[in-house]
């Protein structure tokens, strides 16, 4: 498994979010919102005006930050940048695909489960996607 660099142990790492407005609102109510001195937030609200490039850039930014432990991404958003999500293989931050209001969770699309399912099947993951 890649990600052989040492995991930075941390006592106050953040949870980042790339999701719809309601999901972000809920988690901000739970106290995970953070705005740093550069006025950068630890979340991106995805709506019908958000471009795929914005989502990709935010995903890359969150996964390269040292102060983020977990990145929550709605699965329908992850599907828009599936190649990027599937090619991510570091242990930290952990990428967790979550359901959204209009798109229930589908284990067939989960990147972690896709990675490990070949243990149960002789076919490769790529052939399943065709």
């Amino acid at each position: 498994m890649a990600g052989r660099a040492q995991i930075p142990t941390s006592n106050s790492a953040l949870i980042a979010m790339i999701a719809d407005e309601d999901t972000i609102t809920g988690f901000l109510l739970a106290g995970v919102g953070n705005v740093d001195i550069r006025r950068k937030t630890n979340y991106l609200i995805v709506d019908n005006k958000t471009t795929v490039k914005q989502i990709e850039d935010t995903f890359k930014e969150f996964t390269n930050r040292d102060d983020i432990a977990i990145v929550l991404i709605s699965q329908y958003v992850a599907n828009m940048i599936r190649f990027l999500v599937d090619s991510y293989n570091k242990p930290v931050p952990a990428i967790l695909e979550i359901p959204s209001k209009d798109h229930p969770y589908d284990p067939a699309h989960d990147s972690v489960l896709s990675r490990v399912k070949y243990l149960f099947s002789t076919e490769s993951v790529a052939s399943d996607r065709r």
Binding site: S12, T23, L29, L72, P91
Partner: protein, 217 residues
């Protein structure tokens, strides 16, 4: 010739034991992988329920308070730290090629007024113990018990203060449904941390199985 044969006879049971141990380790690894996979799927299902409840409560709050009062336009964009954070520990520090991070949730940390009131939240609720707290087997006197109780009360008050601060971005008087939505999303956070740990365990045992497969082929 006789010496060679006796050497081979001695080595045979040792080889068998070695193979048996390797087989047992592999079976243990497979079991660990399957357990964490099962936990992952069960927790995701449970997370979906908590999120659904949270969205429903949020929709109810929006209906009673009005759409403009619960909107992303009201989010606080001033510099502030997250009250709920994650602690990361590396469980496999001796083996950097097989990292296994362990995540734990730290809810409603109040760092300004009272640094000792942080509430880490693993599966058991722990409090950062002030001095003079009870140890196992020690007898308590009235003063120690009352100091523990007052610390707990002060901790709860701090937590309530932080909770209210999160709610006040939507105004001074909020719908009770918004408070229940807050609780639902807090529950969802607990599950998210467990999912992250199940993921970590699953990927760690998966990589171990891959290594075993490569070494045996």
């Amino acid at each position: 010739m006789a010496e060679i044969e006796s050497d081979q006879l001695q080595r045979a049971p040792l080889d068998e034991t070695k193979v048996k141990n390797e087989d047992e380790e592999e079976e243990e690894c497979i079991l660990q992988f399957l357990d964490s996979l099962d936990a992952y799927l069960t927790l995701v299902d449970s997370l979906s329920s908590s999120l659904r409840q949270g969205w429903f409560d949020l929709a109810s709050a929006r209906q009673s308070m009005g759409h403009t009062r619960i909107s992303s336009k009201l989010f606080d964009h001033k510099v502030h730290s997250a009250s709920t954070t994650i602690n990361i520990m590396e469980l496999n520090a001796d083996n950097p090629s097989d990292p296994k991070p362990q995540f734990s949730l730290s809810k409603w940390a109040t760092t300004k007024e009272n640094p000792s009131s942080e509430v880490p939240n693993n599966s058991n609720l722990r409090h950062r113990a002030p001095t003079g707290v009870l140890e196992d087997g020690e007898k308590s006197n009235g003063t120690q018990v009352s100091s523990v109780v007052s610390n707990d009360v002060s901790l709860q008050l701090d937590i309530q203060k932080e909770r209210s601060k999160s709610l006040t971005i939507f105004g001074g008087l909020v719908s009770p449904k918004l408070r229940t939505a807050q609780v639902s999303f807090e529950t969802a956070l607990d599950k998210i941390v467990e999912i992250a740990n199940a993921r970590s365990s699953m990927l760690s045992s998966f990589s171990q199985l891959q290594l075993n497969k490569k070494s045996s082929s």
